[in-house]
Symmetry: C2
Subunit: 479 residues, 2 copies
């Protein structure tokens, strides 16, 4: 809380970014001038203007909150990013690495040697080290483990042992515990002796030999009679988590019950750590982002200024999968090439059937994915959902099917073609509705994330089936 | 915090839902039995088993936290939802209405008369009334305004006057203020006299005649010398917001600086209210959801058990827009019907060009939308982004273009067709990259949300241009 926080709004942040960019542009200009005069690199470093610019940039960076430096690093192309990174004071490296996105962190860590990485990591808490551990070289982690004291080492190892997306991977160890048999007066004196309290601390954990028996909200501590005992004032009925619990369920509990922090206990009820709202908010943001990225067919978060090669690799998996499904759909059309030769209008009309089917199915699949994530879909109500979606598809099929049917009829002056168009639309919307329900529900049942890849599968079904239904009906009824 | 919170995990929640569903199923069974025996509705109500089931259901609901009742209401189909809603004690109506989603709230409010709505609203704070005001009938709001005292009325009117997505619409008025010239001892005694503190309160606001001059974090209040003055211990450099600030920028500040609550002040620095992390988390969740829904082509959040008619209306706008774009793409193909008649293979291959272009463009557009939302894209670095995306598109075009070229060559034993396929793929990927950058950036520049509709525009461009490039090249080079 003692960091500089004047610069809270996005506008201010963008001003800072622009100032840094302007300084960097000035420095580029000086560099070019020196080069044009034929001077060697040495001249540049000795150039007074260059030195002044560097100093100004450094001062600017020192004034900023680590999260704001992280923002600027993320918004700069690689070469300028590394220049700025070099200017950041070494003792701030750790907290800034913690704030940047995974892909940008990778680009920064690549430029640091082992000693720098060790120094950065040692400035962090164990749960924070765990957050960046995935990006640290193996030998740095090993060395780090030998330098930590035994409690911290055990904590780091246990945090690293929990899978991503569990409470164990998100929790930290900064908590304040107290016994139940003391008075609030004693508790207050104890806190004053501690001198400093962790961030996001809104309650003390009441323990009996490591076992959590309740919590004492600071609110109650502040408003109750100081003579009362902790036992009399504490809350026993408390939301708590196990480290193995899934992070998204914990996040839902935080949202549902408006929590700021909650204890994490083992199966025997012993207190292990705490989960705080800031870790939960980061988790919510990251999982919303990764849903969006994976639905768009990106393997992982991508640095906006990644090299062409890295960016292309990030996108290949889904493009390759899409290419395969497109090939299959193409072969479905290939099977009807004879019909298309006789009536080329079919080729012009078929993408409408496939496209609207895909769009309509995507609407259904999105609602189902969301309903699954919120736990609203159960075996008992699934049947009703199917009936509703079939109802919507039928209604849409009649309305939009008629529209496209009339369009085809008028355009090609062929009422039978219009009829085939309308019927194919209705059928493909029904296919889309069923695929939109059953694809995510099946992925969920086989314990896969229904958000990833279900859209690709859906489009595959609506394209292939759309072409097959339309061209098949046309071949049967028109030719 | 005194609510029942034993049921925190998703598993527990689903157990509650299943229990409610089982009770409802039992009640349906009894109902059917009574009807089969030819008894009138009256018999059912007088049936002992039915009464017992109702009582058990009511007990079950009384034990649950309002957020959990909301979850169950959302997961139940309309008729059962309304039965459960009837059983909920009237004094809990308000807090449950606050927790359910907009669309479900609408379905519940429709069944309530004016007196019930007024009673429910009166049990809420003014900022909470504002949250549900959009769904309340106009005459209820009017009557409510007359029953509130003048301070509350002024607050409700001012909260209602702020647009959605501003800090003013999210803030509440539950804060504790203190003067700077008293000692911490006095502050502690003042809090004890208050007896109860608002939720999510982690700091007191220090004011000088309504003007915010600093904050006193509870952490500091608890750990500092009680003899010290508030002025000596308070923090002056504090993140604060104006009610006109955009909610998404406030949310980013909460994430960036790990805030639990922050003061809201007017332009003169006078304290108006506070923004808390629970409101911010709800906002983050809702805007992530609404991005996902609008990208999938749904006008608004949809009740999972909406009627077919309502659901269809929610989906029509985007289906209609898609239909128009599909018509245009269809006319592009129509212009080349002569070519297709001569070489039906073109019809089978063209969806591959359009499809991969769409997928690749969607990857680009997603990264750009995200970069814009995070403020990483500025006029200075936009040029580099364009170069990078053109690089990726060229690389992908060469790799995947060759792959589909060879595929077409082998399949149709026609090397020239393979060449056209490869070239068209490369060109359409370039079109997709440029469209993926410029569509969201243009929407942003004209102050529209780049997430809404940009995907539809993109697919329109990649489809139409894909068909045009491929069929055009084929007509020029092959026929």
């Amino acid at each position: 809380m003692t960091d500089n926080l004047e610069n809270q709004s996005q506008d201010d942040l963008e001003t800072h970014l622009t100032q840094v960019q302007n300084l960097l542009a000035k420095m580029r200009l000086v560099e070019e001038l020196v080069h044009r005069q034929g001077g060697p690199r040495q001249d540049l470093v000795e150039n007074l203007v260059h030195k002044q610019n560097l100093a100004e940039l450094q001062r600017k960076l020192e004034d900023l909150h680590p999260a704001d430096v992280a923002y600027i690093l993320e918004a700069l192309p690689l070469n300028e990013r590394l220049l700025v990174w070099d200017l950041v004071k070494a003792e701030r490296d750790g907290e800034i690495l913690l704030e940047v996105s995974d892909s940008v962190r990778e680009s920064l860590i690549q430029t640091m040697d082992k000693a720098e990485l060790l120094a950065a990591a040692e400035s962090l808490d164990t749960d924070e080290i765990a957050d960046i551990a995935a990006d640290l070289p193996h030998d740095v982690i090993q060395e780090l483990l030998t330098t930590l004291d035994s409690q911290k080492r055990a904590r780091l190892q246990s945090t690293l042992s929990y899978p991503e997306d569990t409470v164990g991977a998100l929790m930290d160890y900064e908590m304040v515990t107290i016994r139940a048999d003391v008075t609030l007066e004693v508790a207050l004196r104890y806190l004053r002796r501690l001198g400093e309290l962790p961030d996001q601390l809104d309650k003390l954990f009441v323990v009996d030999e490591d076992v959590l028996i309740g919590v004492l909200p600071l609110k109650r501590l502040l408003t109750s009679d100081p003579e009362a005992s902790v036992a009399a004032v504490m809350v026993e009925d408390v939301v708590k988590f196990h480290p193995e619990d899934e992070a998204h369920e914990a996040a839902q509990a935080f949202e549902r019950y408006d929590l700021v922090m909650a204890p994490v206990v083992d199966m025997a009820g012993r207190l292990i750590g705490r989960l705080t709202i800031d870790a939960v908010v980061d988790y919510i943001r990251e999982s919303a982002d990764s849903d969006m990225l994976s639905m768009a067919g990106l393997k992982e978060e991508e640095d906006l200024f990644a090299t062409v090669w890295r960016a292309a690799k990030n996108r290949w998996m889904w493009l390759a999968i899409n290419l395969c499904t497109a090939f299959v759909a193409s072969r479905v059309i290939g099977a009807f090439e004879g019909s298309i030769e006789k009536l080329a209008a079919l080729a012009a009309l078929m993408p409408i059937i496939a496209g609207i089917g895909g769009n309509s199915g995507n609407q259904t699949i999105t609602l189902i994915i969301r309903g699954l994530a919120l736990g609203h879909i159960t075996p008992v109500n699934a049947r009703r959902l199917v009936l509703k979606e079939i109802g919507v598809a039928t209604l849409n099929g009649l309305v939009w099917g008629s529209a496209v049917g009339v369009f085809a009829w008028l355009l090609y002056d062929n009422p039978a073609l219009g009829g085939v168009m309308a019927l194919a639309m209705l059928l493909n919307l029904l296919v889309a509705a069923l695929a939109g329900i059953f694809i995510p529900m099946t992925l969920e049942r086989i314990k896969r994330d229904p958000a990833i890849g279900s859209s690709v599968l859906l489009t595959f079904v609506t394209d292939s089936m759309g072409f097959f239904i339309f061209l098949g009906l046309a071949t049967l009824l028109l030719l």
